[in-house]
């Protein structure tokens, strides 16, 4: 789950990290008022769940309230990597002495939490990783004991942070790591983390994402969800335990298992077709859930044919077939349906489908070929 910069900043502030607090504005007028209240040079920053805001013109400086209004006008409504800006953050301008990158992520290979820092602040860390990997200082947190202050001081010394600022850096890095753990984050990032002209540490831009599997521990995070940023259909799907991603093609796909779903899309493409979606009904799908999946796919007006590809493991073929029948009884489907059914209880499933007038194809490849032909 992704959240906005201003929300991440609020969370980090609660963990004792000094952040550049600002005001959220959804209109140019609000931005102007916020700038006036700030009474200083401000930055107007697009609040979208996407990187690359700067390059896309989503961040502007404004010396006056009028400039702030103009900046907000140009930013609100902007499309940044497919995300349309609906709000901006107005923060006081800050004199920067030094900039750093500081982030906490999972290192999948090491199966440990990784704390990364670099003196190349303000630059995307992936870029630094490719161009100057030696400029990234890394610490793996002990899975049991976490990270000790001395390790973070060492990191600060390695970054060349002046002696008088080392304790401050270590405190912020420690707090960021704690925030990552306490909030079940998958990413906690400050970029740039700066030393101001006045010599104070300040988190100028904060970013956090959360582990969807741990949301049950954080009931308050639901309030942080920005429905404008989420695809309503995808969210609705997720609430039914279905993974759904809308794509641009015209062949609806209903598959059990993420890997098989991707392979099914690949097969459709190989046969010259274009998938309308990625859809994984999940393990142990109930008839209800299959019907639900059917609804998700048929709601897309682009869909010209539907491919159902089920290999039964936990999911039983007869249950899937039952779901298809129930869905067809509820929704009138006007496009061709190609079903491929294998694995557990596939024969029972095929029998049920036959009763409903549907014939199941034997292999995925054949099914993909057939659905592409039907959609043509």
């Amino acid at each position: 789950m992704d959240i906005h910069e201003y929300q991440a900043a609020e969370i980090l502030a609660r963990h004792g990290i000094p952040v550049n607090a600002g005001t959220v504005a959804t209109t140019p007028a609000e931005a102007e008022a916020a700038a006036r209240a700030a009474g200083t040079l401000v930055a107007i920053k697009a609040q979208v769940h996407s990187g690359g805001r700067g390059k896309a013109g989503g961040i502007k400086l404004a010396r006056t309230p009028e400039e702030a209004r103009a900046a907000a006008e140009s930013i609100i409504g902007l499309d940044i990597r497919g995300h349309v800006v609906s709000k901006v953050l107005v923060v006081p301008g800050v004199g920067i002495d030094q900039e750093f990158y500081l982030g906490v992520v999972l290192d999948r290979n090491a199966r440990q939490i990784l704390i990364m820092a670099s003196a190349e602040g303000g630059v995307e860390i992936e870029e630094v990783a490719q161009t100057n990997p030696e400029k990234i200082i890394r610490i793996h947190a002990d899975p049991d004991r976490g990270v000790q202050p001395f390790q973070l001081r060492q990191m600060a010394f390695d970054l060349g942070i002046p002696a008088g600022k080392v304790a401050g850096f270590a405190a912020i890095a420690g707090s960021l790591f704690r925030a990552f753990l306490d909030e079940d984050a998958t990413l906690a990032e400050i970029n740039p983390l700066i030393i101001t002209k006045e010599g104070d540490w300040l988190a100028l831009d904060s970013k956090m994402s959360f582990d969807d599997n741990a949301l049950f521990r954080h009931g308050d995070f639901e309030a942080l969800r920005d429905m404008a940023e989420e695809n309503a259909t995808e969210l609705e799907a997720r609430q039914s335990g279905i993974s759904f991603v809308k794509l641009d093609g015209n062949i609806g796909c209903i598959v059990n298992g993420a890997g098989l779903a991707m392979a099914t899309m690949d097969a459709v493409k190989m046969h010259g077709g274009d998938p309308a979606n990625f859809l994984d009904v999940g393990g142990g799908a109930s008839a209800d859930q299959v019907a639900k999946a059917f609804g998700l796919v048929t709601a897309d007006p682009n869909v010209r044919a539907i491919l159902i590809n089920i290999f039964g493991g936990i999911t039983r073929g007869d249950v899937v077939a039952q779901g298809i029948r129930e869905a067809l009884a509820r929704v009138a489907v006007s496009v061709p349906i190609v079903v491929r059914l294998s694995g557990t209880n596939a024969e029972e499933g095929r029998a049920l489908l036959a009763e409903a007038g549907l014939t199941a194809v034997d292999t995925m490849d054949a099914a993909a070929a057939q659905v592409v032909a039907s959609a043509a």
């Binding site: 199966r111 992936e126 890997g259 991707m262």
Partner: protein, 291 residues
Amino acid sequence: MSILVGNDTRLLVQGITGREGTFHTTQMVEYGTNVVSGVTPGGLGKEVAGVPVYNTVADAVSETGANTSIIYVPARFAPDAIYEAVDAGIHFVICITEGIPINDMVPVYRYVRERGARLLGPNCPGAITPGEAKVGIMPGFIHQPGRIGLVSRSGTLTYEVVDALTRAGLGQSSAVGIGGDPVIGTSFVDVLSLFQDDPDTDAMVIIGEIGGSDEEAAAAFIRERVTKPVVGFIAGQTAPPGKRMGHAGAIISGGTGSAADKIAALEAANVRVARAPFEVPELVRSALASA
């Protein structure tokens, strides 16, 4: 036995009285797996598919000599179940449960390794040695005993490939699903290494998908250490960047994790990479022929 599970497996089912536990215990018993006991706290005295239930793993181990455990308990309780299994001396734990938070799995992974045990999963379909033991949720009947070792991050996609192999008359030594979570107990490299050392395996199939860099790590390992022929398949070749496809790992980001990169890495390690699952059997045959 080929790798991980086989005739020596004495299986314990944690969460045996739950809906999934009961269903799959029945399936595994029917397959012929030696399921010796189950655990559900407070379940002592019950039976599931003829398998006796105990209150704790320690009791089940001491009473029935279980050496392998499979976990079907809900995500919130799964880490505790893994700790309990390892603490009771179980040396191989298969965790089927999906949805376990990352921060819970990081210390679990460390613990299991420290104790010298092995974890498969979580969020995986399990492992099977056809004709000997099915320890997981895969449909047993599609498998056939043979000499091809299979490892995959995926569930149903694995069945797809297994089915294709079986239909082509290529039986499997073992088939192992490692799971798609960010923190998993057993990696591609771990399983490839076991297959490499397994005298009952002649060739291997690795089934990957977009996201992460596990396939690249596997490719590096294959190049350096694997002498048996390897065939690969990567799902998500046509997936658009920036979209997460179900699995936590299945996302292409920042120019890395793409199917093209993974295929290139595998091919550089002399792996024959199939464009579709149905191509796998013929590539295996030709690899075996030229080995």
